[in-house]
């Protein structure tokens, strides 16, 4: 991790320079980010930059290149301590200003809100009742009821939908409210960009003056210390002035890796609500509602087939409906259960669980041109470890085996080894197109 690398650098340098020099110059240096080898550090003033440039820069660079393989460049920026959290209500004069400003300002930020995502178009079921109720409560009294609102759940279950629904409801009753919806990635990107271009104040102004801040997929804050700190201050600035914050994540705050404790605890201040995968009745309700929304009449048996076939994810449910209707329209045939079954073959999640672990191992071995024994063995060659981890990943993701179960399948490996392997694959899929491609191809093979 890059910030630990920086800590190591600081520790090494601390021993070399005098205590006063350390306290005055080195200690205030903050690690901001590591952008593919470009280390960004911030110092509080010109004097510190000048001193570092003169006295420590070459040593920092040599230590960084020693400790970090991908080190390319060192970047020191001057950043005011202006980022201090504000911990009181606005004094009266400023209150007047912010009220006036709110009245004059256009609601352009609100353009990021998707108008189609409303409470009305959200299907409530047992799987999401709590989240829905919390969202409604927040929409009625933004900033006071549950602040922050933390919604978590799997992909395509409606987290983003709920978040937008709150925003739309608030806009309806008060069009002047300033609302920003952004993804965690965009937030991070903008933050880094603003440091590079010295427009950090514009950035702060943008995010700290909103009435409602919506951030999607907050789990991506993991490992981004600089952004976490900025988000922390944004959070405080908003929370202290009773502005609503809503974030979504694919897991509970505690399980987000490398998320600062102070953020974890803050996320718990308001309400943490989960959205589960919908059960069959919910899926039926959703799919019928979607069909109705589009003015389609679809036989019940087809609807029920879709609801049976697609279990994990509402987005796929909708997608398969669209796909079916399109296919039937193009081919000019009637929508029947059989037609649905044929068309949705590759979508069907049903079969996944039927795939045996033996088949997975066989297919993966064939794909990589190695023996199944190599996968089951314990040789730690790179050519073998990678396929082995892919097996772990697929057994986990597609066959839904538990870690110990997978361990057993793979000649009694420890469950922590499996966890590591699955995690590593998850990371790698995000990073490497090749891995993504491999998994996709193997999945295709498994279908046959």
């Amino acid at each position: 991790m890059s910030s630990t690398i920086w800590q190591q650098v600081v520790e090494k340098l601390e021993a070399k320079i005098s205590r006063p020099n350390y306290v005055t110059w080195l200690k205030p240096v903050k690690f901001l980010s590591n952008d593919g080898g470009i280390f960004n550090l911030s110092v509080p003033n010109y004097y510190a930059k000048e001193w570092l440039d003169k006295n420590l820069k070459t040593e920092i660079i040599s230590l960084l290149s020693e400790l970090s393989k991908d080190f390319k460049q060192l970047n020191i920026v001057i950043r005011d301590a202006g980022a201090k959290a504000t911990n009181e209500d606005l004094p009266p004069l400023l209150q007047t200003i912010s009220e006036e400003a709110a009245q004059n300002e256009q609601t352009e930020e609100n353009e990021t809100i998707n108008r189609n995502y409303t409470f009305n178009s959200f299907i409530v079921g047992n799987n999401n009742r709590l989240a829905f109720a919390a969202a409604e409560a927040v929409a009625q009294k933004p900033g006071t009821t549950y602040n922050p609102l933390f919604i978590y759940g799997g992909v395509g279950l409606g987290k983003t939908h709920l978040m937008h629904a709150v925003a739309n409801e608030i806009i309806k009753s008060n069009p002047k409210k300033k609302i920003i919806y952004t993804s965690c990635e965009t937030f991070t990107g903008e933050f880094i960009h603003s440091i590079q271009n010295k427009t950090i104040n514009d950035f702060k102004k943008k995010y700290r003056t909103v009435d409602v801040l919506l951030i999607d997929d907050i789990q991506f804050l993991s490992n981004k210390e600089g952004t976490q700190e900025e988000f922390f201050h944004t959070f405080n600035a908003l929370h202290q002035t009773n502005r609503q914050i809503i974030v979504t994540s694919d897991r509970v705050p505690k399980e987000i890796n490398n998320l600062e404790d102070r953020l974890v605890s803050r996320f718990g201040w308001g309400m943490i609500a989960d959205i589960q995968t919908p059960n069959f009745e919910n899926r039926m309700a959703i799919i019928s509602a979607k069909a109705m929304e589009r003015g389609l009449t679809i036989p019940d048996e087809v609807l029920s087939y879709i609801a049976t076939a697609i279990t994990s994810n509402v987005r796929e449910l909708e997608g398969s409906l669209t796909k079916l209707v399109m296919a039937a329209h193009v081919e000019g045939i009637e929508l029947t259960k059989e037609f649905a079954a044929r068309t949705l073959k590759e979508f069907s999640g049903q079969k996944e669980t039927n795939i045996s672990s033996r088949k997975v191992i066989k297919v993966v071995a064939e794909y990589f041109g190695i023996n199944t024994a190599d996968i089951l063995g314990s040789k730690r060659l790179k050519e073998l470890v990678y396929p082995r981890q892919i097996v772990m990943y697929i057994l986990r993701e597609r066959c839904k085996l538990s870690y110990p179960q997978i361990g057993e399948v793979l000649s009694g490996k420890d469950h922590t080894t499996i966890m590591y392997g699955v995690n590593k694959m998850e990371q790698q899929i995000k990073k490497s197109a090749q891995t993504e491609e491999d998994i996709k191809n193997i999945n295709k093979e498994l279908e046959l």
């Binding site: 005055t24 930059k49 009266p92």
Partner: protein, 363 residues
């Protein structure tokens, strides 16, 4: 280095520069001042890492060089030295100060270790009268915030438009605005720390004219041979224009010193209640009252030159009015809108000046 100069001249500048050399600094060298002799010029510099002060003194230089000297010891030594001419010289880090009847050696620190400021290219430079600027800062600087919770408010806004420089200070409860004329400028705005402006007030009397230069992150004020270089606070100043009332419903003219006197009396009784003081206008009287459950109460009557048609009552923090009246003279105008809107104070002698105070919530 070796340099000979008038003691009084040296002491005068040392008194200014050594203020930044803090004895509380974590970095020992910051307790020193930095001296460079170059030909017949002696440059003295000090910094607290927020701002830097620099002066140039003429004298007789025998040899060039640089060293740092403990500021306090040097200043106090010269204060009590009765000779007229002093010579400062050094042998590496041992500094000798010789004069007709007194000799001393001081231990210095290496000049290379003293923090340096990078040379920056200033965007533009403008000049103005020191007296006018001094007056404007004096009437605004007290309004800015002293606590650091809102860093922006610990600075004063300098806004240049054409030949006008507007200076604004606010702590969120009151606001002071002063407009002065400058020689030339470039439309821009920047925020200068309150503390630096307080330093600037000390050096402004040194010369009739002051030159302000501005770069992205720093500002330099030059008065004669003295320079103050300070950081500029990053961020956006509150949009103050929107809170300056455009009209008022009631206006009274009153002598600033008479009003000040009464407010000071009232403030004795409102100390424990946030200086909550009532102003009441009734016919041709302004009645100022304060009540303390512990201390007692006080009432003051001032006769107004002009009778008011409407009666009006408002409660304010007396201290905020005392602050402004202490730096104004002559008549002031008090303007009111209603009990919830800011009270505006205007100076008769300076119509471009404005001060406003948020009223306290009435019971």
């Amino acid at each position: 280095m070796k340099f000979t100069t008038q003691k009084e001249e040296l002491l005068k500048y040392l008194n200014i520069v050594s203020r930044l050399a803090s004895t509380r600094s974590t970095l020992p060298i910051l307790q020193n001042i930095y001296l460079v002799v170059n030909g017949n010029n002696l440059l003295i510099r000090s910094t607290d890492l927020e701002q830097t002060l620099e002066v140039n003194i003429n004298g007789e230089g025998e040899s060039s060089g640089a060293v740092t000297i403990p500021a306090r010891l040097l200043t106090e030594y010269l204060q009590n030295n009765t000779d007229k001419i002093v010579t400062i010289s050094n042998d590496d880090l041992i500094i000798k100060i010789n004069s007709a009847n007194h000799d001393a050696t001081l231990r210095g620190m290496a000049a290379e270790d003293y923090p340096t400021l990078p040379e920056v290219a200033y965007d533009f430079t403008t000049t103005m009268s020191s007296v006018v600027l001094s007056d404007a800062i004096n009437k605004t600087v007290f309004s800015s915030a002293s606590d650091e919770t809102r860093p922006i408010l610990t600075g004063l806004l300098f806004k240049i438009e054409g030949n006008n420089l507007t200076i604004v200070g606010t702590d969120g409860y009151r606001l002071a605005k002063s407009v002065i004329t400058i020689k030339q400028g470039k439309d821009s705005q920047f925020i200068i720390p309150k503390r630096s402006l307080q330093e600037l007030l000390r050096i402004l009397p040194l010369n009739e004219e002051v030159t302000l230069s501005l770069a992205q992150n720093q500002c330099c004020a030059q008065v004669g041979d003295t320079k103050l270089i300070t950081r500029v606070i990053e961020g956006n100043f509150p949009a103050f224009e929107s809170i300056i009332p455009k009209k008022h419903s009631l206006e009274v003219a009153i002598n600033s010193q008479v009003l000040l006197q009464s407010l000071k009396l009232a403030s004795l009784f409102s100390r424990d209640s946030a200086f909550s003081t009532n102003l009441e206008i009734k016919g041709d009287n302004l009645i100022i009252t304060a009540t303390s459950p512990v201390l007692g109460d006080n009432s003051n009557k001032i006769t107004l030159a002009k009778k008011s048609d409407t009666d009006f009552k408002i409660s304010v923090n007396a201290q905020y009015l005392i602050d402004i009246l202490s730096v104004l003279s002559g008549d002031v105008l008090l303007q009111f809108i209603d009990q919830k809107s800011p009270v505006v104070v205007r100076a008769h002698l300076d119509e471009r000046y404005l001060y406003l105070v948020m009223p306290l919530r009435g019971e």
